[in-house]
């Protein structure tokens, strides 16, 4: 009973706000007779969404696969780079400016270049873009985590004559995991946005981004909005999944 009340108190305000917003939107579009190409009504979008639901689903899967592969690839490279940078000052001096440069790299400029490089029938450019976007935040947070070894743990491992490998395996890496997952959570939203935006620049017509552009090109604005809803849902899925990972890692370390 108590849990229900708490859940209600937590979820009711945003739900009420969202509902009021949709009602106002609907009233505005109908009342002011706004043209659909300017702003379609929520009911029109809902109708389209019901109509193209299977297509939204398969497109979301295609984009989601790109995001997933990109995140895994970018994270793997970031972890290796962070471990190397934590071990050696030279690597750190090489990597940290590189990471800063990568983090400000505009995907809008990069997408057409990669499309040309890998051909328009390949998903590789999109996955690479996601990997590039994920790399910087994960690298920076993981490196910080690797540097967070408490002096008492360092002393302890020295007292026990632990090898550098043992220090990494038992202290440094487990201690850096919560930081890694924080970086991943920060990266997850931009990863999805990048995957969608990367599809605007041609190539395979199978993802949410491609559907949005083609629907808009065909003046099917309500349908474009339906795919936008799919993109929002996809972003939420990745955000919540990485948030759950972050929470689990923090709980394990008592954070």
């Amino acid at each position: 009973m108590r849990a229900v009340t708490v859940a209600l108190r937590q979820w009711a305000p945003p739900l009420v706000l969202g509902l009021a917003f949709l009602l106002a939107w609907q009233a505005l579009v109908v009342g002011a007779e706004i043209k659909p190409y300017l702003l379609p009504s929520p009911t029109a979008i809902g109708t389209q969404l019901a109509l193209v639901a299977p297509l939204v689903w398969t497109s979301a899967l295609a984009t989601g696969a790109n995001v997933l592969v990109g995140i895994v690839l970018g994270t793997a490279v970031a972890i290796v780079a962070a471990v190397a940078a934590a071990r050696s000052g030279v690597v750190d001096e090489l990597m940290s400016p590189t990471a800063a440069a990568v983090s400000v790299m505009p995907i809008v400029a990069l997408a057409p270049v990669l499309n040309t490089m890998f051909g328009t029938t390949s998903t590789t450019p999109r996955r690479l873009i996601v990997a590039i976007v994920v790399f910087a935040p994960v690298f920076v947070t993981t490196l910080r985590g690797l540097r967070q070894v408490q002096p008492v743990h360092r002393d302890l491992m020295r007292a026990y004559a632990a090898s550098p490998r043992q220090l990494s395996r038992l202290v440094t890496i487990p201690g850096a995991l919560p930081y890694l997952f924080t970086g991943l959570r920060i990266a997850s939203s931009t990863a999805v946005i990048s995957a969608v935006v990367a599809e605007y620049f041609g190539g395979l017509q199978n993802g949410l981004g491609s559907r949005i552009t083609s629907a808009a090109a065909n003046s099917a604005y309500a349908r474009a909005w339906a795919f936008v809803l799919g993109a929002i849902a996809l972003g939420l899925v990745f955000y919540l999944a990485t948030l759950a990972l972050e929470r689990a890692a923090a709980r394990r370390t008592g954070g």
Partner: protein
């Protein structure tokens, strides 16, 4: 309470190596900082026998923690000679002659209580079954058997410190180094922990070097209290503590005993360093 006895005996090697757990001759330590050289320790002579409990006490900056870190080979002395069981501190550390506990429990937060206690055993290649047997004994010794599966953040400060002490005892060291292990605890927990430590040490028969700020703590625990003075850190006086002890060690009544208060007064006078104490410096260091 009879189970740990079989496992807490002193390893025979410790007797064979040397009679003294720690022997310091003219040990000094100078730290070079950006602001210049800082003498943390100067001309320290100290011999600690096997099985002896020695407390190091003094104000902040007197080098008591530095001395402990030198013994532990976490730092190296800049002058003098220091041996642990007749060998260099480095060799003693690599041979795992000592167990160590700090003011912070320093438990690994992602490991259970049992896994934390087993850490040194795991580092030194003790098999899974051997580790389980030993950690079970140690959990019983520190009274945390029912918390074996808990994680450090689920425990109180006192319980965490007990885990740290159990961990320091895991490999049956013949020397225990403790750097203000009860410093962060409240007074009541602290007294209980002291009583437990006396019992644990009586069972393990390890020599102990115990750094503390607290005069009653030093007197209650130690066979000898080494009083240190700051700038530069050196030994001001060594106060032998002769309290009436029974076979069961020291209990709570002792804290209200006249001999206890007399010893506390002696240590306090030594700490506050009147003329009499200064004259005695260098004579009474051994």
């Amino acid at each position: 309470m009879s189970t740990p006895v079989s496992t807490t005996g002193l390893p025979p090697a410790a007797f064979a190596l040397a009679a003294h757990a720690v022997e310091a001759t003219g040990v000094g330590k100078v730290f070079t900082t950006r602001a210049g050289a800082v003498t943390a320790l100067e001309d320290v002579h100290l011999t600690i026998g096997a099985g002896e409990f020695v407390a190091l006490i003094g104000p902040s900056g007197c080098g008591k923690s530095t001395l402990l870190r030198l013994i532990a080979d976490l730092d190296t002395p800049t002058s003098g000679e220091l041996t642990v069981f007749g060998r260099s501190p480095r060799a003693a550390r690599e041979a795992q002659d000592y167990g160590i506990a700090f003011q912070q429990a320093g438990l690994l937060p992602w490991r259970s209580v049992r896994a934390n206690i087993e850490l040194p055993l795991e580092l030194h290649g003790v098999g899974r079954s051997g580790r389980t047997v030993r950690s079970t004994e140690l959990l019983e010794l520190v009274g945390l058997t029912e918390f074996a599966g808990h994680f450090p953040h689920q425990l109180s400060g006192g319980m965490q410190q007990r885990v740290a002490i159990a961990r320091s005892l895991a490999e049956q060291p013949s020397l225990l180094l403790m750097d203000e292990p009860f410093g962060a605890l409240d007074e009541m927990t602290r007294e209980r922990m002291q009583t437990e430590l006396v019992r644990i040490c009586a069972e393990s028969r390890a020599a102990v070097v115990f750094v503390t700020h607290s005069i009653p703590e030093a007197v209650f625990l130690a066979d000898r209290v080494v009083v240190m003075s700051p700038r530069p850190g050196r030994i001001a006086e060594v106060v032998p503590i002769t309290l009436t002890r029974d076979a069961a060690g020291r209990d709570e009544d002792l804290r209200e005993d006249a001999t206890f208060f007399a010893a506390v007064t002696r240590v306090r006078e030594a700490l506050h360093g009147d003329g009499h104490v200064r004259a005695a410096r260098g004579v009474d260091v051994r």
